[in-house]
């Protein structure tokens, strides 16, 4: 956390981790190497570049590749009353598992993913009485298709192909009074890889946002959004999406802060009838920073989320504590009752205020019904370091 907090300046950071994986069916290794560079070209222009290489010697339920690389180039320019943003991201997949190629598209074709690229350009203009925004984003998945030969029942490799999605959108926001604003937005998405337009989607959105400070150290915000979605993939019963959001933030003291968030997603059919529930989401978390550590590196975070409709409940605790000069001990527990439990412990030695070495142990245990392979539980024991220049 200490290192992350200091990345906000012009900086180059390097983080490396190597772990031994001990599971019921095998013992292997996993690794992570991340480099990032942030630079401010004057007060208006920021550039950040990052490269993350992950490897895992075995495909496990939540890793469909053994090797993958994430790259990012991100540029932001801030003018007097406008901002322009552009980024390029890619993921290069190595040793990918054979995956279905969008089941509704072609059930006889499978694919191995090669690369995924995404480029985005966005701009915002901010006048006192009006805010305008727009974006365009293109995503390309490059893959190797394999088609099932019905005579031999063997998968036959085909030439590499691309699947392209294009996302565009524009929004107008109008402040009504202090603390209250309204907005209208239009989004259009085109899945150009399907000739029949099956993956195209039009969205028309309108909503209200209220944001207000209360009692000095607390704020409350609420929003209501209606989105009309038109596309072959959206069933008539879910045409009109209604999203209501309520958030309470409170800083109880200099050391203790937290928030409570509730989101309700409901829908109406294409005739604006039959109100149905899609998902509830309630989240609360509180963070306590130990006053004994003025860097803020010693903290305890406790939280939970409740989302029963999508089996996405979770309860989590994490913390780090300065036990001695230059030495931090920390750990975390992330319990997702319907999926898995993750427990980790970490011991870090800061040989400078921003550079550290650490030992880490973690254990992942999948719930029995999510046991899609022998590796339903695994221990990870590793060492790592992070440098900051």
């Amino acid at each position: 956390m200490l290192a992350c907090a200091l990345q906000a300046q012009n900086a180059f950071t390097l983080r490396s981790d190597a772990q031994m994986v001990i599971a019921q069916s095998h013992t292997g290794v996993a690794g992570l190497n991340r480099m990032s560079w942030e630079h401010h070209f004057g007060p208006d222009l920021d550039l950040s570049v990052s490269s993350t290489l992950n490897s895992n010697d075995r495909i496990i339920p939540t890793n469909v590749q053994k090797l993958w690389h994430n790259g990012l180039v991100d540029i932001n320019y801030r003018g007097t009353d406008f901002t322009v943003h552009a980024d390029y991201r890619n993921t290069v997949f190595g040793a990918s598992q054979l995956l279905g190629l969008y089941p509704t598209w072609d059930p006889l074709t499978s694919q191995k993913r090669l690369m995924q690229h995404q480029g985005t350009i966005a701009a915002e203009f901010d006048a006192d009485f009006l805010q305008l925004g727009g974006f365009a984003s293109g995503k390309i998945l490059r893959y190797t298709p394999y088609t099932l030969d019905l005579d031999t029942f063997e998968l036959v490799r085909q030439d590499n192909a691309n699947a392209t999605d294009v996302y565009t959108g524009a929004v107008i926001k109008v402040p009504i009074i202090k603390g209250l604003a309204t907005h209208v937005a239009m989004d259009y998405k085109s899945g150009t890889f399907a000739d029949n337009g099956e993956y195209d989607l039009n969205k028309l959105n309108a909503g209200l946002n209220a944001d207000y400070k209360i009692l000095g150290n607390a704020s409350v915000s609420a929003s209501f959004d209606w989105t009309k979605r038109t596309g072959a993939a959206i069933s008539n019963g879910k045409t009109n999406l209604l999203r209501s959001t309520l958030r309470l933030r409170h800083r109880f003291s200099n050391s203790l802060a937290g928030y409570l968030l509730y989101i309700n997603n409901s829908c109406l059919n294409d005739r604006m009838k039959n109100l149905r529930l899609m998902a509830n989401y309630l989240r609360a978390q509180v963070q306590y920073s130990f006053p004994s550590d003025p860097t803020g590196g010693s903290y305890l975070l406790v939280g939970g989320k409740y989302s029963p409709e999508n089996k996405a409940d979770a309860y989590f605790v994490e913390g780090d504590y300065k036990v001695r000069e230059k030495i931090y001990a920390g750990g975390s527990l992330n319990l997702q009752p319907d999926w898995q439990a993750l427990i980790s412990a970490r011991l870090s030695y800061y040989y400078t205020p921003v550079n550290e070495l650490h030992l880490q142990y973690s254990h992942r245990q999948y719930t029995p019904w999510n046991n899609s392979s022998l590796d339903f539980g695994a221990n990870y024991l590793g060492v790592g370091t992070s440098f900051h220049w």
Binding site: G169, V220, A279
Partner: protein, 84 residues
């Protein structure tokens, strides 16, 4: 305290609560991402077998509902528990 923002705020609360209690009949699942909890790490994008998650203009992950098959792999992989 200005009265008009308070009034709008109370109306917003009422609307949120009304929807919360009115919509008790569940329809089929759609997964969403809490953008305030997403840190843009991209793990869900990598893990999604249907290439159904992308970065929005804020650098946060967003689910493309036209391609999502509700496998829920993203729920388990998200380090910030941002998928619901």
């Amino acid at each position: 305290m200005n009265r008009r923002p308070t009034l709008w705020l109370l109306l917003s609360f009422a609307l949120v609560l009304l929807l919360a209690f009115a919509c008790q009949q569940f329809t089929g699942a759609e997964y969403f991402i809490d953008s305030s909890s997403c840190n843009g790490c991209g793990e869900c994008i990598r893990i999604c077998p249907n290439d159904a998650i992308y970065y929005n203009q804020s650098g946060k992950a967003e689910i493309d509902q036209t391609k999502c098959t509700h496998c829920a792999n993203c729920v388990a992989i998200c380090p910030n528990n941002a998928v619901y």
